[in-house]
Symmetry: D2
Subunit: 371 residues, 4 copies
């Protein structure tokens, strides 16, 4: 009981890194939504490995086969299922037991949890590869949201301590951010991006890895979506974002900075604007990240995800040998990313899209008397 | 659909700040657990208002009346319910509509969400007062966990930029932390605490407020509790912690710092220890906050909660008047805390306890063949 | 984890028969629905004991106190909570253990399940008294549904083998059925009702009890509500109706009779009708009970509930004495209904109303773009 | 939100009758359970079409491909997924709209629910074919239960009014019932079975269909499994059994017969037995079907499922043409079973097994301190 999520839009993710395949059941998107399969594939390619120097050379086509819920190019309203076959697996038989668990991974904890029966090849069900079906579900959700005027874009905010340009959470440049989907290294400031790439490459050469921060912006969400307490947008987003491997920190709006502010500085005051022709409520600042009392206030929903440095590194590490209960040295041979942050960018967008779509559906957005 | 949470241990919270009462149904703790009602009350008093200069002078006895699930001093195994009557409410009739919403609160978003029908007196269901029943459920959970050797202590880590002593997440001083329950201002370093109190008092005199960070430590949790993906300890803790009003950031272990580290620095390596007589696996460091792959690794589970400055301040603020769609000035008259952080300390412990108990129950901890 | 139910409308029931009180949290009805509290009380009185010769003489006012979610005579949209105090309890201390469990009750199974810690006085959380908060939630749901043109009426179909008039599930006489709410013994045929009362009275005089069947009709539900598979109206109704104590059988439409029919007799054929001015789809027959593929077809939703004879009887019965593991004779002294069927009529309506409201909310009925 | 079910063992079913494939995610069986794949296939073949004169000639191999959660012949503890490819589909393009809906099917209600976008070929997601993945999940659950000493066998109790031998729910002949798995027409009384086959054949020749009743027996379940109210075994079994297409009635133990009994006749009295060497509680009768207060009492859990006659018949039927809003005649050309009851027998066993396994897991059966 671990790998499903959702209230109105329910996803169930399955698979292991080196098993036959991975996939997701999405139960169920609203019916009659035309899906652009090429756009879904393009979205998933942003996450796929093997395309850049800073990602693992494992090559996976990651082509989702849609098994159900899609007919005449539209969602049917019944469960939408996609399966991705694993192909480029290099798992000389690991046997059935972890011998020397990799630090920073779920090797040891998973082995304890499952009494040694889980498939530990390539991380098994704990592998970052399981974000591929999450991206499928997210790409579908994004397309549905875009038809409702809701847009979600993320970027690399920071890698190895090098920061992209700071952005005002009240006025994110969505047009520029949208262009990042075309870049393999999605920063707004190319020179910062270039420095980050250098830092990643340096870490790789030194058989090490680096971490960073992804920042995500959601615009077009009207005020009034979400619920108080456990149904709030923050707890619901967090319940999914923290399921992304390597995420160890999450903040909204101005994040931990607000802890050092005074209320008079931090409060976002509403005002009436006539911009666009119709009098409406808006805010000058957006320290809250677009959510008050768990409910959207009409401003961009903004969050930052702290991503740890890839735990799989080529440097020799200390670990243990379970079979004879002794300490041991570990050199990881497999393929791995020296920095997972660029590939986490589409995953953050995907996760956010699923949560927002679920919240919209929970508010009856796609329903009504003729449902 | 907002105010319930849980898989195996299910809580349902209800009430409004100025209504008849607030409370919680806990469905259901394991049967036959002897509860110390005085200790529950003492725990709840740590959160209760009106006891210190830095909390709202609203005085509430906050005495929970247990309506069900408790018999012969023990849990029965069927739903445990507590109701707390509201007494010291000063709600000259607000009418049924928000006129000038308070910035940083759920006044405006709640009003949009509920079409103006929610009870907005004192924040209604959005009020921080709803953490009182959460503390009841948490105090019960804590007592159950303590009998299993699991301890949960939180502290003020930082207020207004002033920091308490840094702690190694691998070796938190649980004995000292446990003594903080007796202090009205729970910092380890009294002189830092004193500076924080000064900063809070200064903010109060200036009709303003300050924020801060709470840090929480869970020890005694064995390795192997939790699940991969959405069932992980981090997403599950986050799904509850972000429901606490004023929480805007959350991190585990070394938090956002890990984003600037290399993998070789950040990975926690396991080793065998014979300390205590029995060979067991432990770790030198605990940057991960005790969770790998969503599952506990036997080290302390450690997290930091970023708390925003209390949005209710006495300084005049900009807002809007909804009735005539004009901008307006707002001076909040009610009673409020210049800093909510000290009262958030027991709330963090309570929330963590509920999540950990639910996770233990989900792992079959209290069950077995004779269940 | 036992006493909560629901997807979009979530109810959490608590309490024990002889504890301080019982109640329910309803999280949450749509906001802004004006509730008629007198009508709720009148509805609940139909279930309340002590009003007729065929019900237990235990007198309970059963007045619900609404603690939250109700403001200015309307639902707020946040959790609606009602508590009913237990008053007329005659529980000379039972001690903490079942000694001689009552056959046909949860005394023994509950004691095993909860290791002897459950409150067994008067049946504790297993008591039929727990249907009082269900009726509160149901009465609220019924009022909301009635404003949407949906009506739910049940009747006694049969007691002790004596049947009320058979009704065509395609054309139930809702006007006549609505009048049954005013009768303490709700049958359409007064003479059948009179015979049933005689049979109940005869059983009571002979220190015994009788069972029967309740039939319930839901009209005004448009076609298209519900889902395939586990989200179907039948599984969802069944998941609640089988939670009513003493229910041991449930059927829809023509019930078990259809098992003996041919498809050509049993299929309900649609046709177009111009009755009422607008061309619409309807059906001549309604063997299916208004549900095809789990989804309403616009015809009345009809079901029958088989209620067992009250297990508490005054006749001496065989049982066991747990303390010394011997067989024992049991004479039940307490107060009990010789026939629970009349009081089950409003409970069936209440349960059905909650499920239908949840299903409507799940279809986005109360939502829409401005939600 | 329709096709997933479960608390501790969670299943998510997907697919359409004539789409690429159908399947199920089971999240997750306990780890380390050795599965006999041949036995799973054999179990599923009992449900598969095309093997007997009374089932549709559609031939489907129905071979499940296990994509995840199975490694070294054992469950891993992470999601177990099986996909069944659709092969023998004869769907000359139906277009995207139901034109003349089949009476008794979800064609019309599904079309309304999904605004015409659902895949209606062969019934789509509403097809009885979706019970194939349910049987996969059930076959796995059965193997796990059998290792715990729990057995589940169903039989044809009645077809077309012809009854198999009556069985005492207190003492079902499990040995004989187990042999029914080898029979294509699972009745205990071969002569009754033969008459039933004749009745089915007669209906088929007359282009019609017949219904019947399946009865299921669960033995070996210890007392104390289940919960009061909505967590009871009856509501939980019902929530799954009513999801089986064509089920319109369900009863436990002595079913609707108990409605005509007196309490003194119907109550099952416990007594102490020394049979088998150890003093234990048992019952002479089992009118309750092994469940008191929602919780197992140690006697066999027994239920009856009322199955309607197959709605797809070859006789001309009345229906409507949606395109021009006129009444129309319908002759169904496709392949269909003249009686679905024999194929419902393994489906009932499968559904029961999933529910019982989920309930055992919820009671912590597979857990404990070393989990």
């Amino acid at each position: 009981m671990s790998s499903f999520w959702g209230n109105q839009l329910h996803i169930s993710i399955f698979g292991e890194s080196h098993g036959k395949g991975i996939g997701v059941v999405v139960d169920s998107p609203p019916p009659g939504i035309k899906l652009d399969i090429d756009a879904i594939r393009a979205f998933m390619l942003r996450r796929a490995p093997g395309r850049t120097p800073w990602s693992t050379p494992r090559k996976e086509e990651d082509t989702p086969e849609i098994l159900s819920g899609f007919y005449h190019e539209c969602t049917t309203g019944t469960p939408l299922t996609a399966v991705i076959r694993n192909s480029d697996t290099h798992s000389s038989d690991y046997g059935n037991l972890v011998q020397v668990p990799r630090p920073g991974h779920g090797d040891l904890t998973g082995s304890i949890r499952y009494k040694g029966f889980n498939d530990i090849r390539g991380g098994g069900h704990f592998s970052g590869r399981l974000t591929a079906p999450l991206c499928f579900a997210g790409a579908v959700s994004l397309q549905i949201l875009e038809k409702q005027g809701i847009q979600i874009y993320a970027r690399i905010k920071e890698i190895a301590g090098i920061e992209d340009v700071p952005l005002d959470p009240a006025r994110p440049p969505m047009q520029e951010l949208s262009q990042l989907r075309l870049k393999s290294f999605p920063t707004l400031d190319d020179s910062a991006g270039s420095s980050m790439i250098d830092a990643v490459e340096k870490a790789r050469m030194e058989l090490d890895s680096v971490g960073g921060i992804v920042e995500c912006f959601i615009t077009g969400l009207p005020a009034g979506i979400g619920d108080p307490m456990f149904g709030g947008l923050e707890p619901r987003l967090a319940s999914m974002l923290y399921a992304i491997p390597a995420v160890k920190a999450l903040s909204f709006g101005s994040g931990f900075d607000i802890c050092r502010r005074r209320g008079s500085e931090n409060n976002d005051s509403p005002f009436y604007s006539d911009e666009g022709g119709q009098r409406h409520i808006t805010y000058k600042t957006n320290h809250s990240g677009g959510v008050d009392g768990g409910i959207s206030n009409g401003m961009p929903v903004v969050f930052q995800l702290g991503i740890k440095p890839t735990p799989s590194i080529s440097l020799e590490q200390d670990s243990i040998r379970l079979s004879d209960k002794t300490d041991a040295k570990l050199v990881i041979k497999g393929r791995h990313d020296p920095c997972i942050v660029p590939r986490a960018v589409p995953v953050a967008e995907a996760a956010a899209a699923i949560v927002i779509l679920d919240s919209l559906m929970g508010s009856g957005w796609f329903g009504g008397r003729n449902a």
